[in-house]
């Protein structure tokens, strides 16, 4: 197990691409400390920015575990393209966490910046704090959304969570911002508490489940039926009556938007259309 402790409070962005179990695998402590890392416009060694500790757990497992202790909210692109292993971050973390991740697990006991799990293909990201905007969404301009894997947020998420999503699951146990599932094609997004609005704008497929207050449903969605329960993934079904809306009709599509009936009495006017 590798422990990393930031040696100072970072003032400029650090591109932490090398903090990745795939790269650490098979390297000695010195080898890891010698990896190059950019701090602002200066190239540094990982050992100059972090104290690198190697803790022998006695287990000769293939998986490499990395733990970061401290505030790394200026460090970006941790776990870029990682395929296995585990990263645990005890503190806040910066943008592009787990970008294009293929497998393995990242858990964060703190808040994460924007674009967490951007364009991910597999693996799991669990965030115990809040997530920023563009959770699981591609970089600006790109339409290459999340293609697999799972993101769990125990706090709140920002705007445009799951934009352009194609596969996979995003579960947000707090609230979400605007444009949840913008232009999503497939996959599932579950928001346990409310979200700000414009959920599912331009969606062409997939499933968005809102278990809290949703101020209004976009006018390009039509009500289909009322469902007793909704399946989020294997062994995870949410009970309670849900309005099922289909849309976005502006895209000539039938994506599914479920909104909990109990928390949204103002949507009962749709029932007469059934």
């Amino acid at each position: 197990m590798i422990n990393l402790h930031p040696l100072k409070e970072f003032r400029v962005p650090v591109i932490g691409e090398c903090i990745n179990p795939d790269i650490f695998q098979g390297k000695t402590r010195e080898g890891i400390a010698g990896l190059t890392i950019w701090e602002g416009n200066k190239q540094k060694k990982l050992g100059e920015l972090f104290k690198v500790e190697e803790i022998s757990t006695g287990q000769q497992t293939e998986r490499t575990t990395v733990a970061i202790h401290g505030d790394v909210s200026k460090v970006r692109r941790i776990g870029l393209c990682m395929t296995n292993g585990e990263i645990a971050i005890h503190g806040d973390v910066g943008m592009h966490l787990g970008e294009e991740m293929e497998g393995g697990k990242i858990s964060v006991h703190g808040n994460v910046g924007r674009w967490a799990g951007s364009m991910m293909n597999g693996g799991t990201i669990e965030i115990h704090g809040n997530a920023g905007d563009y959770l699981g969404a591609p970089y600006r301009g790109s339409s290459k959304g999340m293609r697999g894997g799972k993101i769990i947020v125990h706090g709140n998420a920002g705007n445009e969570a799951g934009a352009y999503m194609r596969r996979g699951v995003i579960k947000i146990y707090g609230t979400a911002g605007q444009f949840v599932g913008l232009r999503m094609h497939n996959g599932t997004i579950y928001v346990q508490k409310g979200c700000e609005g414009r959920a599912g704008a331009c969606m062409t497929g997939g499933k968005i489940v809102v278990g809290g207050f949703l101020e209004s449903v976009l006018p390009t969605f039509t009500i289909e039926s009322v469902k007793k329960k909704v399946k989020i993934e294997e062994d995870d079904t949410v009970e309670g009556a849900f309005y099922l809306f289909l849309g976005d009709l502006a895209e000539n599509s039938k994506g599914k938007l479920y909104v909990l009936k109990e928390k949204n009495p103002h949507l009962s006017c749709y029932e007469r259309l059934l």
Binding site: P138, Y139, R140, G141, S142, S143, K144
Partner: protein, 563 residues
């Protein structure tokens, strides 16, 4: 400064040199008979191929269109970036790289001259600003004249000479090099939401047909003695069954050719070589086009090869780009350039498993291999429409090796593979033919006297590639060939070594070539013309011309016209 390239295998098709071991002497940026051997800087090219610097006849690298493409595609930039080095500037971009990166990447591949097609005359200043910032290369640009109202009006009235005078004025005013015609008539029709469907369709309001525009401008081209022919992007581009339009376009100027000089250049021919009635039945019309070109000497072509990758399509063909947006559902830009032309941009991904894209890939190569005379077909990807120019070495490998083609054929859509003519095409090009298709032929078609060859008096633009033609079999070792062409061992521009083994050694500015067309009676800027500018353009006449001091390194070519 003197330079001596020793013992290389020289491929110089214009002078008929096919792989002979010779020395090339360079003094003050020109190739000379000999230099003082003790004083000159010597480059040992033994076991290497020496060719003239590459010439690209058609690549969109500068101008408002390309720049809008850059704005439209932030996702194209963030993965492909180049860091600053002590010698070079930083840059980003894969299919639409920034100007400096464009220059460096071309220089690494041994290219030294490039032509930027489709410059709307209104955007000439912007285009030249970007060309000024494109280092390492000599360049020129073609103004779009096929749908300019002045041209349409004079051709409608049959006033060819008057039209020629206006074209000459426009060429000098916008510092252009050749007449570019995009979807003749169609762009004007697009201004009112329509298009033309064949070369005898009427253009709304002007009452002229694409055939008349093509023939008129071909005659103008001849009257003005321009070095290149008309550079034509045909009607109906990118539509199934359009090979007939391409053949009609070639046929319509058949009688206007005289002597050896071709009369028309059909650009990115792959995009107008589709047979079939819809996208499900589309197949390659390369055979018919190649047959026509083999029997007629008035046409030159360039391929517009498709590469399976993510790219950005940009043309002045607004209606085509709108169709592409409808087809792909991707984000898009479309624009009408006042009295002159239109334009459009759509990001696009060519996929191996898509039947149509695989057919397109195959069609480009079929064209190149079925046209027998390499002096008449040139290698391009219509950068960035078919794919970024950095893939040229890959195309060279496909030309030279049947095995390399087979390797791709195995991976493409099976239905496209079964319809492709490539499995039955055994032709493998030699280094001599590659030299023609990538530099000599293009320079000849462009009428560039000092480029594309290594004879005495030519510009000292030389590319040296680290492969030994004596002990390599390119049909088997296609990967070695590809790697050698990816990073030239040496690129020499204007007598200076600018790149070595894929590393840029120095930043040099290239010249912008333009035509100073001298007519006996140049048009006068009358009050009437100024009024038209005020009425039809958003700029006043005084702000319109690109003056010579606007160009960082100006290289005027004086042409004496017959009018």
């Amino acid at each position: 400064m003197e330079l001596l390239i020793k013992n290389g295998f020289i491929y110089d098709p214009i002078n008929g040199v096919d792989g002979e071991k010779m020395d090339i002497a360079i003094r003050d940026g020109k190739i000379v008979e000999k230099v003082n051997e003790s004083k000159a800087l010597k480059i040992d090219a033994s076991g290497m191929i020496v060719m003239p610097g590459g010439v690209d006849i058609h690549c969109h690298i500068a101008g408002s269109e390309v720049n809008t493409g850059r704005l439209l595609r932030p996702e194209d930039h963030f993965k492909d970036f180049e860091r600053k080095t002590p010698k070079t500037r930083s840059g980003v971009g894969y299919s639409v790289p920034s100007t400096f990166t464009t220059g460096y990447r071309y220089a690494k591949m041994g290219y030294t001259t490039i032509m930027n097609p489709s410059m709307p005359p209104l955007e000439a200043k912007h285009t030249h600003e970007e060309l000024n910032d494109t280092p390492m290369l000599d360049k020129a640009t073609y103004p779009l004249l096929g749908d300019w109202w002045f041209v349409l009006e004079y051709l409608k009235d049959g006033k060819i000479e008057e039209c020629a005078r206006y074209v000459a004025w426009m060429m000098t005013t916008t510092k252009g090099y050749a007449i570019k015609i995009v979807n003749p008539g169609g762009l004007e029709a697009w201004g009112s939401g329509r298009n033309v469907s064949n070369i005898d369709d009427q253009v709304p309001y002007f009452g002229i047909t694409p055939r008349e525009i093509l023939r008129g401008l071909c005659k103008v081209n001849k009257l003005l003695n321009l070095p290149h022919t008309i550079h034509v992007h045909t009607n109906n581009l990118g539509k199934p069954g359009n090979y007939l339009t391409a053949l009609d376009t070639m046929r319509c100027v058949e009688d206007l050719a005289s002597g050896e000089k071709p009369a028309i250049h059909i650009t990115h021919c792959q995009f107008c070589a589709f047979k079939g009635s819809d996208w499900r039945t589309v197949k390659s019309g390369a055979e018919e086009i190649a047959k026509y070109v083999n029997n007629h000497s008035h046409v030159t072509l360039d391929m517009g090869q498709v590469i399976f990758t993510d790219t950005t399509t940009m043309t002045a063909d607004g209606p085509f780009q709108y169709g592409l947006h409808e087809l792909s559902g991707n984000k898009w830009v479309n624009h009408d350039v006042e009295t002159e032309t239109s334009s459009g941009i759509v990001p696009f991904r060519y996929r191996r498993k898509s039947y149509v894209h695989a057919i397109q890939w195959s069609t480009g190569l079929e064209l190149a291999l079925l046209v027998k005379d390499p002096w008449r077909i040139f290698m391009t990807t219509d950068h960035p429409n078919g794919g970024p120019f950095i893939y040229y070495p890959r195309i060279i490998a496909w030309f030279m090796s049947r095995k390399a083609r087979q390797a791709v054929l195995k991976k493409i859509n099976p239905r496209a593979e079964s319809r492709s003519l490539l499995p039955s095409t055994d032709r493998e090009l030699s280094f001599y033919e590659i030299a023609i298709m990538t530099r000599a032929g293009q320079a000849k078609a462009l009428g560039l006297k000092d480029k594309g060859h290594l004879g005495v008096g030519a510009d000292a633009d030389v590319a040296i590639y680290g492969i030994n033609p004596e002990n390599i079999d390119p049909s088997k070792k296609h990967k070695t060939v590809r790697r050698a062409f990816e990073n030239a061992a040496y690129t020499i521009k204007g007598g200076k070594v600018v790149a070595k083994n894929g590393e840029i050694l120095r930043h040099v500015e290239g010249a912008t070539m333009w035509l100073d067309v001298q007519v006996s009676e140049p048009i006068k800027i009358t009050e009437k013309m100024r009024r038209r500018f005020r009425e039809y353009w958003t700029v006043e006449y005084d702000n319109y011309p690109v003056t010579e001091n606007y160009l960082e390194v100006s290289h005027p070519i004086t042409i004496k016209a017959d009018v």
